[in-house]
């Protein structure tokens, strides 16, 4: 959706690189196994500096969403929805992302289950992708 590329830093470069390959990963503490994101050098659960990237399920639930109706950024035309998603791995793991459906989709609801899609970013710079969430249809 957006041509705005992330300003990657030394902590985050590997996460963005993984996302560009279609892998949603979070950091995981090697000692206490707590998940964390964005990338940080220290686990605030146990204080350990040891960690690894671990692929996540790519699923979660909607914590909240907004619909931007007044365009803030010249390159991002309104209206559009942005979701805050609670990752399935851990209750305090929250991350934003775009929404795959229309901004006024009546299916948007707090608690709705979602799954991650990856949208490659074109243009100059290192390979990168953005997250886009779609609602998982119930099989009922």
């Amino acid at each position: 959706m957006s041509p705005v590329r992330p300003v990657v830093d030394r902590d985050s470069a590997e996460w963005w690189a993984l996302l560009a390959t279609g892998v949603l990963a979070f950091q995981r503490c090697s000692r206490c196994l707590l998940w964390r994101w964005p990338a940080r050098a220290l686990c605030n659960g146990c204080g350990s500096l040891a960690w690894r990237w671990e692929p996540a399920s790519g699923t979660g639930e909607i914590v909240s969403w907004i619909v931007t109706r007044h365009a803030f950024l010249p390159d991002v035309p309104a209206p559009y929805a942005v979701l805050s998603v609670r990752a399935a791995e851990q209750p305090d793991l929250l991350l934003p992302g775009a929404y795959a459906g229309p901004p006024d989709d009546p299916r948007l609801a707090i608690g709705a289950p979602v799954t991650a899609e990856f949208v490659p970013l074109t243009g100059e710079g290192a390979p990168a992708a953005l997250l886009r969430w779609s609602i998982i249809q119930s099989s009922a």
Binding site: M1, S2, V4, R5, P6, V7, V8, D9, D11, S12, F26, L34, W35, R36, W37, P38, N44, G45, V63, S64, W65, I66, V67, T68, R69, H70, F72, L73, V76, P79, Y80, V82, S84, R86, Q90, P91, D92, L93, L94, L95, P96, G97, A98, I110, L121, L130
Partner: protein, 392 residues
């Protein structure tokens, strides 16, 4: 009742002895340095002090205003005993005053001026530009989604809060309407025309669910306070307003390993420490000036500061309890929504005015204790608040 230690060491030992404001405008036409100096001059005049009495300076800013040391140099303070130039937004506003009070109570400084000076409308808008907050590595995870500005970030929290409490747009409309009615009694306020529910509900959605009238007024203005020892303040021009309690607290990160529930703010952790520091409970508060960059933050803080039970703020407003004449008047100046946005410090100034008993038509009769708060810690912030008490 009161707990020993902690913030209680500060109780009633320092006072706000002076308050100063510049005009509130959409374009000040001057620098933030000039605004800061005008507000400081006004606050010193109010206190009956000279600039040569000042030996400490304290402000907060986000790369949008003149530095504290520059203000100190212009004031001519050679032996600068206390200097605080805090990086931060509205969550740090009350911490600036608390740190000044600590410096005075500990004897590091005698008289500290605190201020916030912004050309937040004409030069450095907070709300509308998509500009990156300085020093915020988290920005990279939001900006690519067109998700960057305070109205968007707070709209995300707003929807979660409304959902959890069953709050309606009308519930939040009553907050905006009540504050506008207060602003109508405030000569300083930017917006004084009464607001109707129809106008509120038909105002455009900025970042759904946030409407235009849920958002504060970006303003060019400065507010300054003079903090000195309680005994010294009693010899000065105004009724001293004592710093009875101060507390700072944490906040929500935007992402992980923090607080999983966005509908309860860090103020809920801070509040018990704050009340213990002041030796009071929430039932003692006569008037509350609560940080209101967006409407929902007001009922949310009424909950988190223990002033109204969770889920009951809608009825509290519908019954008029938050209005002048009600059980607990809230944001008697009109708040950031209707007076203007001076990033938290104008709430402290209003609390001081109320406790002096000089608020004129909007005076809360007999107000003795005020709660005044900064942003309750969202969007990667921290939280801070003060309990102020009329001397005597």
């Amino acid at each position: 009742m009161a707990q020993s230690g902690g913030g209680a060491v500060l109780r009633d030992r320092t006072a706000v002895a002076g308050v100063g404001w510049t005009e509130y405008t959409k374009n000040s036409g001057v620098s933030t340095l000039a605004l800061a100096l005008r507000a400081v001059r006004a606050a010193l005049d109010d206190a009956g002090l000279e600039h040569s009495d000042v030996d400490g300076v304290a402000c907060h800013r986000v790369g949008d205003s003149a530095s504290a040391v520059l203000v100190a140099h212009v004031l001519g303070i050679r032996d600068l005993r206390f200097h605080l130039d805090m990086f931060g937004g509205g969550g740090t506003s009350h911490q600036v005053v608390a740190q000044a009070a600590l410096a005075v109570a500990s004897g590091i400084a005698d008289t500290v001026v605190c201020w916030r000076a912004v050309n937040a409308r004409s030069e450095f808008r907070m709300g509308g530009t998509g500009r990156a907050a300085p020093d915020a590595p988290e920005f990279q995870y939001q900006l690519p989604y067109g998700y960057a500005t305070p109205p968007q970030q707070f709209a995300m929290l707003d929807r979660a809060w409304r959902h959890a409490r069953g709050a309606t747009a009308e519930d939040l409309g009553r907050v905006a309407i009540a504050q506008r009615a207060h602003a109508a009694l405030n000569d300083r306020a930017m917006m004084r025309k009464p607001l109707t529910m129809d106008e509120y509900l038909s105002s455009r959605l900025i970042a759904d669910p946030l409407r235009l009238y849920d958002c504060c007024l970006e303003t060019d203005a400065a507010v300054a306070l003079v903090v000195t020892g309680a005994e010294r303040a009693r010899d000065l021009r105004q009724t001293p307003v004592l710093v009875s309690g101060a507390a700072t607290g944490g906040g929500h990160t935007l992402f992980s390993n923090g607080r999983a529930d966005p509908t309860v703010s860090a103020a809920a952790d801070l509040a018990p420490r704050l009340y213990a520091a002041a030796g009071i409970g929430p039932e003692t508060v006569d008037v509350a000036e609560l940080y209101d960059a967006f409407t929902f933050l007001v009922p949310l803080q009424l909950e988190d500061y223990g002033l109204v039970p969770r889920g009951e703020t809608g009825g509290f407003y519908a019954d008029g309890h938050a209005s002048l004449g009600g059980r607990l008047p809230v944001n008697t100046h009109g708040g950031h929504l209707s007076e203007g946005y001076v990033h938290g410090l104008n709430h402290v100034a209003e609390a001081v005015t109320q406790l002096r008993g000089t608020a004129g038509e909007r005076q809360v009769p007999g107000a003795e204790v005020a709660l005044t708060t900064g942003q309750p810690g969202y969007v990667g912030g921290t939280s801070s608040a003060l309990v102020l008490r009329r001397d005597g």
